[in-house]
């Protein structure tokens, strides 16, 4: 064997060994072998079953919350600086792209010195905001672009984190939770092997914002009644909240009641240290929680000052339970309400994982059951086997020994493809299997182009060696061209496609790249090797 040939042989051997290692690793037993293969070749959700979700974070919730806080602060600032003002209201951010803002109505004919004092107050205290003057004495505050972008991004990041915490505590193995797209505030969640998507969805979507607030007055039977009791104007710093409290055993079910509670909570879910499901004295499900050291201190102060008053446990803007404060409570409490054991379990899980900073909407949900996935694998394997069998039968019949050459190149192509999928961490999807079948077709195309060319050269009277030489050199350019065009098509699929279709694009691209190596380099090597062992004028089997 010539030195050149030997070098090529070594290069091929290295690729083969690396590929075999890529597929099976270093197994010590049969079960180890199976385990290694399963670890390296990750199956997509459409093959192994599971749930794929796309959520949109309603970042405007966070912007509105920011505006609310600003309003509270601004009020205090203006009061301490003795600047007179009319009303401060929020401009609602109604969709995810909305900017929101705060509207300050002044008293018309505000003295000029007050006006500059007002502007100073904003400049000094509300750094994230800019203002525009509107009607005399009124201002419109808008978030600065940087502050706006930061709030949105933070909300998105925090949502991803919270969902990750929640999914982790559900015990799903290898979940994918990540931002998706750009500027759409979308989160992609993929949960392989999950067969109960309804529960997962509920757990992910619930905001789970826990607040404990002081009850100022109530209950009222309706919102109107509550408003009438206060002559249509609520006291400053209070709000009306509906209760979904359940009646005591034996009491008739009444319509939901309303309470007037303080706007600012005594403590929130952030101050929780732990939460777990439990049962109350009547053996009904409840959630017990303990507070962090800081939360416990504040809760202790709050309850001490309010002995005899009532407090409300508010979850996502609905009162779950109302209780009278009997004594100072420091570090633990409980939430009772109208819920099942399952809900108590879910709620304690969500409280442990933390509240979501904004509400969410599902844009897309796809669940594949385990048996459909298994069927798809069977179908895909059958279709590939038939495609391969057709090649294995046809090529040796039509091209004799060169056909065997093509089969070896094809098998190597499949091996490299499988190994590469493992190395780059790509997942194999059902369209991906279709990509493998197409790769088989394209690989055969490259062989056919070369072999036909060699035959032509032989017909033209060339010797075996020069016919092989000419056949490869003339066909290579065509092979490159045809592979490149298919890769271009696959590139756009990858760019615009979603999950399974992306899998197809990846598989096809890797397959074609491997094809350039096997059908051109390896196949040529095999021809050259055979020819080098024969007398110069010998014919080749093609």
């Amino acid at each position: 064997m010539s030195r050149n040939l030997l070098q090529k042989g070594i290069a091929i051997a290295v690729v083969v060994v690396a590929s075999i290692y890529g597929v099976i690793g270093l197994p010590t037993s049969m079960s180890g072998l199976r385990q290694n293969m399963a670890d390296r070749l990750r199956l997509g959700l459409d093959l192994q079953g599971g749930t794929h979700l796309v959520l949109q974070v309603m970042v405007n919730d966070a912007i509105n919350a920011e505006a609310d806080q600003t309003i509270e602060r601004l009020r205090t600032t203006l009061q301490t600086r003795e600047i007179s003002f009319g009303s401060i209201t929020r401009i609602d951010a109604t969709d995810i792209y909305a900017e929101g803002g705060v509207e300050v109505q002044g008293i018309p004919l505000v003295p000029v010195d007050q006006r500059s004092a007002f502007q100073e107050a904003i400049d000094e205290t509300e750094l994230g905001w800019t203002y525009q003057r509107g009607e005399p004495g009124s201002y419109r505050l808008r978030l600065r672009p940087l502050a706006l972008a930061e709030i949105r991004q933070q909300t998105l990041n925090q949502s991803v984190e919270t969902i990750r915490n929640r999914v982790d505590s559900l015990g799903v193995s290898e979940p994918t939770i990540q931002e998706r797209g750009q500027g759409e505030f979308e989160i992609l969640v993929q949960l392989p092997g999950v067969d109960d998507p309804a529960r997962v969805k509920e757990i992910m979507q619930t905001t789970a914002l826990l607040e404990i607030k002081r009850v100022q007055a109530g209950p009222y039977s309706s919102r109107q009644q509550a408003l009438q009791a206060h002559n249509g104007v609520l006291p400053v710093g209070t709000e009306l909240i509906e209760s979904v409290e359940r009646p005591e055993a034996g009491e008739p079910l009444v319509a939901n009641q309303w309470y007037l509670v303080s706007r600012v909570p005594a403590i929130t879910g952030r101050e929780l240290r732990n939460a777990r499901p439990g049962r109350d004295e009547n053996n009904r499900p409840e959630v017990d929680f303990t507070l962090s050291a800081d939360g416990a201190r504040r809760f202790g102060e709050f309850t001490e000052q309010n002995i005899g008053n009532m407090l409300a446990v508010v979850l996502d803007g609905k009162i779950q339970s109302v209780a009278t404060i009997q004594s100072r409570i420091t570090d633990s409490g409980r939430i009772t309400g109208r819920f099942s054991q399952q809900w108590a379990n879910n709620l304690s899980l969500m409280l442990r994982a933390g509240a979501l900073p904004a509400s969410m909407q599902y844009l897309e949900e796809r669940t594949v059951g385990p048996s459909l996935g298994a069927d798809s694998i069977r179908a895909g394997v059958l279709a590939s086997a038939i495609g391969l069998a057709a090649v294995f039968i046809f090529m040796p019949i039509y091209y004799r020994l060169a056909g065997i050459n093509a089969i070896i190149a094809l098998l190597l192509n499949m091996l490299i493809l499988m190994a590469a999928l493992g190395y780059v961490g790509a997942t194999l999807t059902l369209p991906g299997i279709a990509g493998i079948i197409l790769t088989i077709g394209m690989a055969v195309d490259a062989n056919v182009l070369v072999f036909e060319r060699i035959r032509e050269e032989l017909h033209a009277g060339k010797t075996a060696v020069s016919a092989v030489e000419a056949g490869f050199s003339k066909a290579v350019l065509t092979i490159v061209d045809s592979n490149v065009t298919t890769v271009i098509a696959a590139f756009f699929l990858f760019l615009f496609g979603t999950g399974p279709v992306k899998g197809f694009a990846v598989t096809l691209t890797i397959g074609l790249a491997a094809n350039m190596f096997t059908a051109v380099f390896v196949s040529r090597f095999m021809f050259d090797y055979l020819l080098s062992r024969q007398p110069r004028q010998a014919a080749i089997s093609i």
Binding site: S371, P431, A434, E452, V484, T486, L493, A505
Partner: protein, 404 residues
């Protein structure tokens, strides 16, 4: 073995037959598309809710419709899926019939309604449980943790293989599975339900996503076509690029038309098939064009029609062999690749036939006609050329005379 040796078919002479055939095929597809009001979009593109359910007994559509109607889902669509013997149906909710919240909750309502009717309950459906879930329940029932996973996997493959095909009728059926004890059966009995159906898959696609995917699919196809034009124009000449893209458009139109005639849905995977078809079809044209370019260099004196005919004939054996081989692959995807890949396999199968044909019947004649036209134009056609030659000869004579 060699099948196609030294052919001398005059392909370009038949170009008007090709034109007729192409027009006929694309018109038929267009008529079907127009009659059906555009392509039948799959769930990805139209948005909505779709639940794929397999029943143990043959499903009675009327009864199911009744049950759904009782739960306020009267506007859902029911459709048999696959062969009748599979007992599978698709239940769908359209975007027009419901708002976002209803659609999202729709999957759950559908499954709950069916559960009440067909013997399900609050407990999870055993036939929908994945191996991991079963293993957890087994472990909770006192099966050793390392034994639980293999037993769960055996149970799942027992359930999914014939004769059960994904639905067991009673937990007693599981007795024959290795490692299953009466205690295991008791656990299943207590913690799972066994309704007469199982959800194979459930999908919800919101209106925003549907619209975005439609836009993306169109972008991918158009950019794919445009980049082919650029690539071929760069590798050959712009005429070749234009001819190829016209041929590709022809392929795509015919594939979409036939998809509509075959009553198959345009889904994301079908778009993948269309892009693949574009890639394959261009590939096929490049093989012919490469040969044309090579032959133009070898046969400078011959006219373009002859060169093109020769090139097609020389590459014909490759065209048919490769086409045939890929066709077998796509046919096996179409026939055996399962329902998910049915439309994909169909478009590829049709596409490879049409793509191969359009190299010979559309792209090559376009390039040949243009080249003939351009040459005639530059030299003014045969009669003009003859007159010009004469005039030139006369001038030469005059020059020679003047010198003399």
């Amino acid at each position: 073995m060699e099948l196609f040796q030294s052919l001398s078919i005059d392909w370009l002479k038949k170009k008007w037959y090709f034109v007729g055939f192409s027009v006929l095929l694309s018109t038929a597809g267009m008529i079907s598309l127009l009659a059906k009001g555009g392509p039948q979009y799959g769930l990805d593109f139209r948005g909505g809710t779709l639940v794929h359910i397999k029943f143990r007994e043959a499903p009675q559509l009327d009864r199911i419709r009744q049950v759904l109607g009782d739960h306020g889902l009267g506007n859902s669509t029911l459709q048999q899926f696959g062969p009748a013997a599979n007992h599978e149906i698709l239940i769908g909710l359209d975007l027009t019939g419901a708002n976002q919240t209803d659609l999202e909750a729709g999957q759950r309502t559908i499954v709950q309604a069916l559960g009440m009717e067909f013997g399900g309950g609050e407990l999870p459906n055993w036939n929908e449980a994945a191996a991991g879930t079963l293993a957890n329940h087994l472990a909770a029932a006192g099966v050793a943790a390392e034994a639980a996973q293999p037993i769960a996997e055996r149970l799942v493959s027992f359930r999914d293989a014939p004769p059960h095909n994904g639905l067991i009728a009673s937990f007693e059926d599981l007795r024959s599975v290795e490692g299953v004890t009466p205690q295991v059966l008791q656990t299943f009995q207590a913690e799972f339900s066994l309704p007469g159906f199982a959800v194979r898959s459930a999908e919800f696609v919101g209106p925003k996503v549907g619209a975005a995917l439609r836009r993306q699919a169109l972008m991918a196809t158009l950019l794919g076509l445009a980049s082919m034009l650029v690539y071929i124009a760069f590798r050959f000449e712009w005429v070749y690029g234009v001819a190829s893209v016209l041929a590709l458009l022809h392929d795509v139109v015919i594939a979409l038309g036939l998809l509509s005639i075959a009553n198959l849905e345009l889904s994301l995977t079908v778009i993948a098939a269309i892009l693949t078809l574009i890639g394959y079809s261009v590939n096929d044209k490049i093989v012919v064009f490469d040969r044309v370019r090579e032959n133009v260099r070898l046969m400078r004196r011959d006219n373009f029609t002859n060169i093109t005919n020769l090139s097609i004939n020389q590459t014909l054996s490759r065209t048919i062999l490769t086409g045939g081989m890929v066709l077998v692959g796509t046919l096996s995807i179409f026939l055996f690749g399962g329902d998910v890949l049915r439309g994909f396999g169909f478009v590829l199968f049709v596409g490879i036939l049409v793509g191969t044909y359009s190299s010979i019947g559309v792209a090559a004649p376009l390039v040949a006609s243009w080249q003939e036209f351009a040459q005639r134009d530059r030299r003014g056609g045969a009669p003009v050329r003859a007159a010009r030659e004469q005039a030139k000869a006369k001038r030469e004579k005059v020059k020679v005379g003047a010198k003399a």
